[in-house]
């Protein structure tokens, strides 16, 4: 008996040792096994640490869906009814939940029912009812109870993000009929990772017949909005944006997708700044915008979006490519002119599609002039430059003509410069029958730079570049003009077309017009156009001064002649002109000529003189006789009297006319 007791004691001690070792190692399964060998009385002191290990192990195996391991725990937990009571409530309920599904998986319905009861009111009512239905029917749920099982799953999923799996999965079978399209699409979207979904749908739309492919495209674009909303937060929306754009485009931009596309467009626009230096943020917009151009309602957005911001080196070329795609569906003067501007910014040649668009637009009255007003002065210059470089002189002239309708002064000034360029280009073309020999010009350019260019310098490419050819022609044209060669007959109609608009703009254009005039009548007409547009006499004097300052001898002479002729009998106008010259401190030569003109006009004129003229006359006399007597020295009076006696200076004797005037003024 004693030996037996001793043996039993030793065995118990061995179990306890093993249990201690298992607990030290954290081996829950071994610890639980050793724990269950112990007598009920002995277990009490070990229950709490064992329960903790069991709870951890069970939760881990449940999460990993290791159902045989879950059942291992379940079988042993059954042997100690108090074990789980040692856990806190949250862990105890979680363990019961794991054991419930372990029992259901192994079809141990009685056990499952017990766990369900112990979970009690913890579960949400729909779930409790659904599991009860399953457990009570022992897995043979009646058909009428099936919807409740479906509903509880759907409702739970509705509260979650319908996340797609991150690991690739076999794609679902492609739909064979129109009824299958929607379920197949929804399952594909739910189960496939995004890249695989895109690939699968692209393949379906390629291989399936149009009656199936079309609804697939529409639904795919609508589903992809969720991806766009998700990626929008992560700033990586290019892929879904491109997918939506592709699907909508392939579907022929149906009305059903207008709202989807406008949302996609709106989401993409947030990344557009006033100045766009990088391509990545605007990539989604560049993908969507060409498709948006297919919807009439979205078209006004594009002009607002793209004509406002500044596009920098990195982004210019992609934006031009996008404008080309937009141009296939939309005839927009704003975007076409933006295209010309960006071509200039990118220093590239004008593409043919842009020329074709310009040809269309010049036939649409009111479009180009409305659009050009929206650009800044510097931009207008670049646009006109680009138009002149890329288009033929005739088309460039047509474009300038179309833009030159009721535009503000700053725009017409820039258009003038464009016109000059067109004229120079046209006269170079007209003068030389062969293409411009750019070689000597380049040599001159190199000489001007002052250092030799490397051998690897792409001469040929430069010489063949259309914009260089255009520049070379302009230089040639300028050289011809400077040599005073007459305007070729073929260019003359082009000049006449713009003469009445161009000449009033500035004195330079007057000078150019006078140079181009082939006869005296034409010269008179040009001058008449200028002075008639600048109606106020003070403007004539200003223009005369400007012509002198810019050494435009033709204009200066013509304007002087005009003024002398017009005011010879008009003392009032001559007076105003003279006073303007005095106030503006124009050169003395102009003031003297105007002073003489004024006095002469007063002498020739009849009737009473106004106070303004009287004042001007005083000023004129002071100018002519008061300060510089060399102009009209009094006869028979020596410059320096030989024997001048000191004494009280005599009061200056005023002539009769001055006395009268002063009396009149006082």
């Amino acid at each position: 008996m004693g030996r037996k007791e001793s043996k039993g004691h030793k065995q118990a001690q061995r179990v306890i040792d093993e249990l201690n070792r298992a607990l030290e190692k954290g081996d829950g399964k071994l610890a639980l096994d050793r724990f269950l060998v112990l007598s009920d009385e002995t277990r009490a002191s070990w229950r709490a640490p064992i329960a903790s290990l069991v709870g951890e192990g069970l939760e881990k195996d449940f999460r990993a869906q290791r159902w045989s391991d879950v059942m291992f725990w379940a079988a042993r937990i059954r042997r100690d009814a108090l074990l789980l009571d040692e856990l806190d409530e949250r862990r105890r309920l979680s363990a019961r939940w794991a054991l419930l599904w372990g029992s259901i998986s192994s079809r141990q319905w009685v056990e499952a029912s017990r766990h369900l009861d112990l979970l009690g009111r913890t579960l949400a009512a729909p779930w409790k009812e659904a599991i009860e239905t399953l457990v009570l029917s022992e897995g043979r749920v009646a058909p009428e109870d099936m919807p409740s099982l479906e509903a509880v799953v759907s409702l739970t999923k509705l509260g979650q993000k319908p996340a797609r799996r991150s690991t690739p999965k076999k794609a679902p079978a492609s739909p064979a009929s129109s009824e299958e399209v929607r379920p197949a699409m929804l399952v594909a979207y739910r189960t496939l990772p995004w890249p695989q979904f895109v690939e699968t749908i692209s393949q379906w739309t390629r291989v399936l017949e149009p009656s199936l492919a079309q609804p697939i495209r529409i639904l795919a674009a609508e589903l992809a909005v969720e991806q766009l909303l998700t990626e929008k937060r992560r700033r990586n929306a290019t892929d879904p944006a491109l997918f939506i754009a592709t699907m909508t485009d392939q579907a022929g931009a149906p009305l059903e997708l207008e709202n989807t596309l406008s949302l996609a467009l709106r989401l993409s626009t947030d990344s557009v700044d006033d100045e766009n230096h990088e391509l990545a943020p605007i990539a989604p917009l560049l993908a969507i915008a060409p498709v948006a151009a297919r919807y009439e309602r979205l078209q006004p957005i594009l002009a607002v979006l793209f004509c406002g911001p500044v596009w920098c080196c990195e982004t210019t070329i992609p934006v031009i490519a996008m404008l080309e795609a937009i141009a296939r569906h939309l005839r927009s003067a704003d975007l076409t002119l933006l295209g010309f501007l960006l071509v200039k910014v990118a220093e590239t040649s004008v593409p043919p599609w842009l020329i074709a668009k310009l040809e269309e637009l010049v036939r649409m009255p009111g479009e180009l002039d409305r659009a050009i007003v929206g650009f800044e002065s510097e931009e207008i210059r670049m646009v006109i430059d680009s138009v002149c470089e890329g288009a033929s002189p005739e088309l460039a002239a047509d474009a300038i003509d179309a833009m030159w309708q009721d535009v503000p002064a700053k725009v017409s000034r820039e258009l003038n410069l464009g016109l000059v360029r067109v004229l120079l280009d046209a006269r170079a073309r007209a003068t030389r029958n062969t293409p411009v020999d750019a070689g000597p010009l380049m040599a001159a350019l190199v000489k001007a730079i002052g250092r030799p260019l490397p051998d690897s310098f792409p001469w040929q490419r430069v010489l063949e570049d259309p914009s260089f050819g255009s520049m070379a022609r302009v230089i040639s044209g300028a050289a011809l003009e400077q040599r005073g060669e007459p305007l070729p007959d073929s260019v003359r109609p082009l000049w006449h077309r713009f003469m009445r608009r161009a000449v009033p703009e500035c004195v330079e254009m007057l000078d150019r017009g006078l140079a181009y005039a082939a006869s005296e009548e034409e010269r008179e007409e040009v001058l008449s156009v200028f002075v008639t547009a600048n109606m106020r006499p003070t403007h004539w004097v200003g223009a005369w001064d400007e012509a002198r300052r810019h050494k435009l001898a033709r204009s200066a002479k013509a304007l002087e002649g005009w003024i002398m002729n017009e005011w010879a009998h008009d003392a009032a106008a001559a007076g105003k002109g003279f006073m303007h010259a005095v106030q503006q401190a124009f050169p003395k030569a102009i003031r003297i000529k105007l002073a003489n003109l004024l006095l002469s006009a007063v002498e020739k004129g009849k009737g009473a003189l106004g106070s303004e003229v009287a004042e001007a006359m005083i000023m004129a006399r002071v100018l002519l006789f008061g300060r510089d007597k060399k102009i009209q020295p009094k006869p028979n009076r020596p410059k320096y009297p030989a024997n001048k006696k000191p004494g009280k200076p005599k009061a200056k004797k005023q002539n009769r006319a001055d006395q009268q005037l002063l009396l009149g003024l006082s």
């Binding site: 309920l93 749920v141 379920p183 189960t191 626009t269 957005i301």
Partner: protein, 121 residues
């Protein structure tokens, strides 16, 4: 290009007309006419002036587009609309159309045993 930025104290014209931001000119016009009926010029000249000003700011397609672009996108609302429209059909379709042809019960068990307790309390 020149950009027409709104003034700081500029009240949203869509709000003034009592509509959500839209690109539909017809919707704007309908809202304007309804607002005019509510604020006729002889009874409420100030209200009419405000409404007229809001309509003027949305009359041209380009102005409408500019104002539409100025309105922020309510991402949460868009997501909610998408979920309302697609979440349940997706879940239902998944139940019906998976290739493994599991029965509804097996699907229910499969779904249930992947859920943690906190999802069903």
């Amino acid at each position: 290009m020149k950009s027409d930025t709104p003034h700081d104290n500029d009240v949203c014209p869509f709000e003034e007309l009592g509509i959500a931001s839209t690109l539909d000119g017809a919707v704007v016009k309908r809202a304007y006419l309804a607002a005019v009926r509510a604020h006729p010029p002889h009874l409420d000249p100030e209200g009419f002036k405000r409404i007229r000003s809001a309509f003027e700011r949305l009359k041209k397609p380009q102005d409408l587009a500019r104002r539409w672009l100025e309105q922020p996108v309510d991402l949460a609302n868009e997501r909610h609309r998408w979920t309302e429209r697609f979440a349940q059909p997706i879940a239902a379709a998944e139940l019906h159309c998976d290739e493994s042809s599991l029965s509804i019960v097996e699907r229910f068990v499969d779904f249930g045993r992947q859920l943690s307790l906190d999802k069903v309390v």
